[in-house]
């Protein structure tokens, strides 16, 4: 009978364990030697990806993915969005009127964003050309802002290439000839917000005395609303990761006009653009976005669809595994069955 054992078991007839002899009263026998930790005997779960283990996991994941995917798709499809590019249309115009039709009511908060295309805020040299200490009010700090650090002896505020190239197109949205009320409240993160120098009792410009404006700017920092705490400046300085990006510009002020209390009503709108920011030369483009937001943010079907399709694929794989398993017939019961000779 022994001869018929498989080779590797036959060899192991010599399996003896003289190994686990324990001598507690020996010098080596200090109690911590016996810990299962040191003896590599920690209780372990051996996750073997066999069908009985993998299949339930696979199906659970599949259904969970589909569930989340449905929720995300619903969220995304509830978002209303209008988007247009205008650089081509407005070429050569400083004031540019674009007609926009909003087919149905945009309910809830409505956001107005500008969009830049092929604009590399993430270029390393550009990216690092800033001084966060200056932006917190220490105006003399300009290190790292070169070449936009100093104008003669005066520090440029805000210094650096990013600030210098701040986006300066502005928009006016007219609904039936009436300007839509806008606000910039709530469009900034509390963290990392810039701060003006400490209040010295005078006007804002007195706090910025002895500083120069960035070369590309038309007016000094103190003449724009809130100085360094300006929402547009702060949003611009929060670098976009990718070359095509949107930045929030304004939000519908629903408190001012009861017509907009529930959001943006359907109808024809005119966007009046002050067209100042050049992007044509480097094949860039500019755009404008009117959108609502769901819990998942702006319109983005990707995550929902991705969840759905991964869920679907997982279920298909589950089925394939079931078939594979059935074909090879490796059920626990069968494995447990020594079998009367198959």
């Amino acid at each position: 009978q022994k001869e018929s054992l498989p080779f590797f078991l036959r060899q192991s007839r010599f399996f003896v364990s003289p190994h686990r002899v324990v001598h507690t009263n020996q010098a080596m026998g200090s109690p911590e030697k016996f810990s299962s930790f040191k003896q590599q005997q920690l209780p372990a779960c051996k996750p073997l990806p066999t069908a009985p283990i993998v299949l339930p996991i696979v199906f659970c994941i599949g259904f969970a993915c589909i569930g989340i995917g449905v929720a995300l798709v619903l969220a995304s499809s509830s978002v209303q969005e209008t988007f247009f590019l205008y650089d081509e249309q407005c070429q050569g115009l400083t004031q540019c009127m674009i007609n926009v039709n909003i087919p149905n009511d945009y309910t809830g908060d409505v956001y107005f964003s500008y969009y830049l295309q092929n604009y590399h805020q993430n270029l390393r040299t550009y990216f690092t050309s800033r001084n966060d200490q200056q932006y917190l009010g220490d105006l003399q700090k300009t290190s790292g802002c070169s070449p936009f650090d100093k104008d003669g002896d005066q520090p440029i505020v805000p210094c650096g290439a990013i600030a210098n190239s701040m986006f300066n197109d502005t928009y006016e949205i007219l609904f039936n000839g009436v300007p839509v009320p806008l606000t910039s409240d709530g469009l900034l993160w509390d963290a990392g917000k810039f701060k003006n120098p400490p209040d010295n009792g005078g006007v804002l410009c007195s706090r910025f005395a002895g500083t120069a404006k960035p070369p590309s700017w038309s007016k000094p920092i103190c003449e724009i609303p809130d100085g360094l705490e300006n929402v547009d400046l702060n949003n611009w300085m929060r670098i976009a990761a990718l070359p095509n990006f949107r930045k929030p510009w304004r939000k519908l002020d629903r408190s001012k006009d009861p017509a907009f209390a529930n959001g943006l009503p359907a109808g024809d709108y005119v966007v009046n653009i002050t067209n100042q920011y050049p992007v044509k030369k480097f094949d860039g483009d500019k755009g404008f976005v009117i959108t609502t937001a769901s819990w998942a943010g702006s319109k983005n079907n990707f995550l929902g669809i991705a969840y759905l399709s991964v869920g679907g694929v997982v279920l298909v794989i589950g089925v394939i595994l079931v078939i594979t398993h059935a074909k090879f017939g490796h059920s626990t019961a069968e494995l447990g069955d020594i079998g009367e000779g198959k």
Binding site: L9, W189, G336
Partner: protein, 1147 residues
């Protein structure tokens, strides 16, 4: 006394505190560092490693302003932490060495001080002092033997530590000093010694002893007791210290332990080099991308075109990207591996399974960088004496008058039938034969009896004779007195004096020893004992009848691996003896061709003998040796036995330790010339091929002389080829250097890992030459153990060391390495994908410090946990199925594995980046419409990478224990905690650290759709494919490992059927072992704690007759150890010994 400074010889004043020059002290040190040398030596050692130089360069490059995309200190800081960890480890290891040196240096000894014996420590021993060494103690330094407790200043020493020879060596003091056996005479003894300067020659030594008022006396190697040797069978000796400490011959012969590098390390370095080239080419490709942007886009982009004025050139960009991608080479790999190995080694050290209770010692991993090499061993080169055998001889069986007495089960011969049969019929032929056999056992030898505290002890250089004399004594024939002319036996209660007339020495050529005696009744008898072949040729017609039964018995004994001796005798008529005796005297006095004359004379008398019987002596094996060797061979490891012993002994042991069985064809190479050796090798190589076809087992036996030829020129090729085919090889009569040469040769044959295991100083060269050296620490053998990489107490621990620790550690270390590559590539290649979107400007996607911390914080623990706690197969399974060992080797660190992991890493990084990209493309993932910006993308992607990489570790881990789970999930948690903490840092005083990170935790964690859902979704999607592919293969093509785990899981209910059926599907050669399967019945067959199967069961059985002509001698089991050509011949030994004289006390 003359003082010659700086002369060609060493001058020593004996028993004096003043020496002409200052000699080195007896302290030995194996430490690597001192307090002052630590820093420079450590740094030099660290910067000999390529990757450390690499990171130093990166750290230096980062200091150039504006070139680094990740700031100045992001490499320097983690690099310093890593160096610090390495330094701590080095210090710890050196402290351990210090402790072990201290132990040796503090061994006790006794020194003559102002006419008194004073207890002292080894480290206090100085040149010129007189030492007192007791029986069974090691010599603390090289000593000149002055006197001893034995006659004429003789001393027996055991040099197996030095040269591996098992028989005791005899040393003898100069006649002018041998009388100094009492404190009164030694105390005032002074002399002046002139001798050679310390040198490495162990077999040569000369000097002169000047005693005032006497002629100078020359002394040589026969008077030198070497450090490392042990005093045996001698109560005490006195000796003058000649060479101390590092001047001692043994220390001069010990080479500095070579730094061994494991194969895995070498492979890893190659892979790192490969990654380095990948890195350089990526940097160049990226710089080309940057160049394109510099030419087309940037000149037009007014907001940034000013940077062109700075003129960042192509090379500058290459540098930038080089720094950006530098982390493709895992900075933490070295230190992770070091830590993992360090703790793996401590697992080895703490393993109770390798704890030897008798010596109260555990295994010691002396180097930790070879842990995984233990899992790749293909050749085990083992020493014999002290490693496989205990060097204890026990008389087990005897055959006399056609009856075989004794059994193999009892510890030593205890069959009282032998005496009973004699007592029943003392006068019959059978009774007489028994009487003669016992008499011969008790009288025909060179042993000297010694009465000590009422006990009878036997001293002698031949362990075989010792066993026989003790055996005879146990049977009631007690040899108790030896005088120059006679021996006195107590024959079953009655003293019987036997006059010893002549002794014809044992030599390896004669293979026999004879004694001519005159018994009490006045009859002159010749007693001869020796090899069966030799004896059978010389027996007379009368004995032919008993010869055949005796042959059968001998065959049986040999099949147990016993050492057999044949006994024969004859009565010599008075007149014939008188004539022969005169001839023999003359022959012994001859100067030319003395040996030849003696042999001829002996030949004349040793003829027409009456066969008396035969004895079988067991050379006791160490515990579980056959089991271990079987297990190793089952793991497809070739086992070689390299021994200094004679061929017969070696083959005997090879049989008894299951290295070869009775089915094994032995191919013996024992030629003396190159051409003969070459021919023989050629013929055996052909025969080996034929055997392979026929599926027969075969083994090669080669001796030292043939080996010299076999290792030269073209023969080397054939020898190598033959050696590769043999499952086992026995090399006998090997010098220590030859052992090392054989190891070197096998290393050179192919890329196989060679492990050498030995216990004595003679094995040191071999241990150092092998990839992995294992020393048996046991009771003695400090030399081998301290030169080894791993020291174990017993040979059988080797099985656990290799099959368990080796296989595990190999699997683990490979995982650690591959995983480290994987995680770094996964994270850092994302920078490349991001470069496509950042105008190849070198902008990082991640925050600079998080990049640096990735390796030392957020993914530091999972590889360590993998390396320490992963158990691919449970301990019991590993040991039970040795075949798993070689299947693990095949899961090796292959190029395919590496490519698969790298491919996985690239795939994962693509998925991680582009999934994140798609999710965060619009930037607004909150209900309040704010924008997350650059780090929203970077940090989210980073989080997903950390989660994926940590979960991948779990997926790759074969056994989830709490440390693994905690370290993997904990690492993800650690990142989230650090993220929150880091978001609060800015603004911190005058520093701008973390300006980019300000508030990021809040920004990220308030987005369900942008962070939390993807945190589940992205790693899941990325790893799903791994899981699916893995489970697909597990279901259809389970690996042996998985089968073993399955087997274990089903073991309670059987289920072996499936396990074996998989084997047919799986075509790999490994799984050939699963063929020819039937089911196993129950657990009963493998009770985990079952008793070992007796050695006999392994080796018993009929031999195949076809192999007879191949190994004629081996089959007979003859083996005998005796000191030959020593300073005192066996004849003189017998003539000089007088056990009735009291021994001097020396005190």
């Amino acid at each position: 006394m003359p003082h010659h400074l700086a002369t060609a010889t060493r001058h020593i004043n004996v028993n004096s505190t003043h020496q002409p020059v200052k000699f080195c002290n007896n302290v030995i040190s194996t430490c690597k560092y001192s307090v002052f040398s630590f820093l420079p030596r450590f740094l030099i050692e660290q910067f000999l490693r390529y990757n450390n130089i690499f990171f130093l360069c990166i750290a230096a490059l980062q200091q150039i302003p504006d070139v680094s995309p990740t700031g100045r200190y992001t490499t320097l800081f983690p690099f310093c932490i890593i160096l610090l960890i390495s330094a701590l480890k080095e210090i710890f290891e050196d402290l351990k060495r210090r402790t072990s040196d201290k132990k040796v240096n503090n061994f006790p000894t006794q020194i003559l001080d102002k006419g008194e014996w004073k207890d002292a420590l080894w480290k206090d021993v100085k040149v010129g002092e007189i030492l007192w060494v007791e029986n069974d103690h090691l010599f603390p330094a090289d000593l000149l033997l002055i006197s001893s407790s034995e006659q004429q200043g003789m001393a027996y020493i055991e040099t197996s530590n030095l040269d591996g020879e098992t028989n005791l060596k005899i040393k003898q003091s100069l006649p002018t000093t041998s009388h100094l056996t009492s404190l009164d005479s030694i105390g005032p003894f002074t002399a002046y010694i002139e001798c050679e300067h310390p040198n490495r020659h162990v077999n040569e030594f000369s000097g002169n002893l000047h005693i005032e008022g006497q002629e100078p006396k020359h002394f040589g190697i026969d008077q030198l007791l070497l450090r490392g040797a042990r005093l045996k069978n001698t109560e005490w000796i006195c000796g003058v210290v000649i060479y101390t400490g590092h001047d001692a011959k043994i220390l001069l012969n010990s080479k500095v332990a070579p730094l061994k590098q494991s194969n895995v390390d070498i492979m890893t370095n190659r892979r790192i080099l490969f990654l380095f080239f990948v890195l350089v080419s990526l940097a160049i490709v990226s710089a080309i991308g940057a160049e394109l942007y510099n030419r087309s886009y940037i000149p037009e982009a007014w907001y940034i075109s000013w940077i062109l004025a700075d003129g960042a050139g192509f090379l500058w960009n290459v540098l930038t990207f080089f720094i950006l991608y530098n982390n493709l080479i895992p900075i933490s790999l070295q230190v992770t591996l070091e830590l993992v190995r360090f703790f793996q080694a401590s697992f080895i050290n703490n393993d109770l399974g390798m704890y030897h209770a008798d010596s109260d010692s555990c295994a010691v991993a002396r180097t930790s960088n070879l842990n995984e090499e233990l899992g790749q061993v293909k050749f085990v080169m083992s020493d014999k004496t002290g490693t496989l055998t205990q060097n204890i001889m026990k008389w087990k069986r005897c055959s006399v008058g056609g009856v075989s007495y004794g059994d193999s089960e009892s510890d030593q011969f205890a069959d009282m039938r032998l005496v009973d049969d004699y007592k029943k019929t003392p006068d019959s032929a059978h009774g007489n034969a028994i009487r003669e056999l016992l008499t011969m056992m008790a009288a025909c030898h060179t042993i000297v009896p010694e009465h000590k505290e009422g006990e009878l002890l036997y001293q002698g250089s031949s362990p075989d004779e010792g066993a026989l004399v003790r055996g005879a004594a146990a049977m009631g024939v007690v040899f108790h007195t030896r005088q120059p002319q006679r021996v006195v036996l107590n024959m079953l209660g009655k003293d019987e004096s036997i006059e010893v007339l002549d002794v014809i020495d044992f030599t390896s050529d004669r293979k026999r020893m004879s004694v001519v005696v005159r018994s009490e009744d006045g009859k002159i008898k010749l007693y001869t004992k020796g090899a069966d072949t030799v004896i059978f040729d010389r027996v007379g017609e009368a004995s032919k009848a008993t010869m055949n039964t005796l042959k059968e018995h001998l065959e049986e004994y040999a099949s147990f691996g016993y050492r057999t001796l044949c006994f024969a005798m004859k009565e010599i008529p008075q007149d014939r003896y008188a004539k022969w005796s005169a001839d023999f005297k003359q022959a012994t006095l001859k100067i030319d061709e003395r040996q030849k004359a003696i042999d001829a004379c002996a030949e004349e008398i040793e003829s027409d003998l009456d066969l008396v019987g035969a004895t079988a002596i067991e050379d006791k094996l160490q515990e579980f040796v056959p089991e271990t060797i079987q297990a190793l061979m089952a793991a497809d490891i070739r086992v070689w036995m390299l021994t200094g012993d004679k061929r017969e002994t070696a083959i005997n042991i090879a049989h008894s330790c299951a290295l070869c069985t009775h089915h094994t064809e032995l191919m013996i190479v024992d030629k003396h010339t190159y051409d003969e050796t070459y021919d023989k090798l050629m013929r055996f190589a052909d025969r080996a091929k034929q055997y392979e076809v026929e599926g027969r087992e075969f083994a090669m036996v080669i001796d030292g002389k043939s080996l010299v030829h076999a290792l030269t020129g073209e023969a080397r090729v054939h020898f190598g080829e033959l050696a590769m085919r043999c499952k086992s090889v026995v090399c006998c009569r090997m010098s220590p250097m030859q052992k090392a040469e054989v190891v070197e040769m096998v290393r050179g044959l192919a890329d196989h890992v060679v492990l050498a295991v030995g216990d004595g100083a003679n094995d040191v060269a071999m241990i150092q030459a092998a990839h992995v050296g294992v020393g048996i620490s046991g009771e003695e053998g400090l030399q081998a153990a301290s030169a080894s990489d791993y020291a174990i107490a017993q040979f059988h621990f080797l099985r656990r060391l290799l099959l368990l620790h080796g296989a595990w550690n190999f699997d683990r270390s490979v995982k650690v390495i591959l995983y480290s590559f994987y995680k770094n590539i996964t994270l850092y290649i994302i920078e490349l994908w991001f470069a496509i979107f950042s105008a190849w400007s070198g902008q990082t996607i991640f925050e600079r410090w998080t990049i640096g911390m990735f390796n030392i914080m957020f993914t530091a623990l999972p590889p360590i946990a993998l390396g320490l706690f992963d158990r691919p197969v449970d301990e019991a399974q590993m040991l039970r199925f040795p075949a798993l060992y070689c299947s693990f080797q095949k899961r090796a660190f292959s190029l395919a594995q590496f490519c698969m992991w790298i491919g996985m890493a690239i795939l994962h990084s693509l998925m991680l980046f582009f999934l994140t990209y798609a999710i965060l493309e619009e930037g607004v993932v909150w209900a309040h419409g704010r924008d997350g910006g650059w780090l929203m993308l970077g940090n989210c992607c980073y989080s997903f990478v950390v989660a994926t990489v940590c979960l991948k570790a779990l997926l790759e881990c074969d056994s989830w224990t709490w440390p693994v789970i905690v370290s993997c999930l904990g690492s993800i948690g650690a990142w989230l905690v650090v993220l929150i903490a880091y978001s609060w840092v800015f603004p911190l005083g005058r520093f701008t650290i973390g300006a980019d990170m300000a508030g990021m935790a809040w920004i990220m964690m308030t987005s369900l759709a942008g962070f939390w859902l993807p945190l589940i979704f992205v790693p899941l999607t990325t790893l799903l494919w791994d899981l699916v592919i893995k489970s697909f293969f597990t279901i259809t093509h389970p690996t042996p490992r998985e089968m073993a785990v399955l087997y274990q899981k089903r073991h309670a209910t059987g289920g072996f059927e499936r396990l074996t059926r998989y084997g047919t599907i799986y075509s790999s050669g490994v799984l050939d072992l699963f063929r020819g399967r039937t089911r196993i019945s129950t657990d009963d067959e493998f009770p985990p704690g079952s008793e070992p199967i007796p050695i006999e069961a392994l080796t018993r059985g009929r031999r195949s007759s076809s192999s007879m002509q191949l190994a004629e001698e081996a089959r007979h089991g003859f083996a005998f150890s005796q000191e030959e050509h020593g300073p005192i011949s066996q004849h003189d030994m017998v003539r000089n010994a007088d056990s009735t004289q009291p021994k001097p006390s020396g005190r």
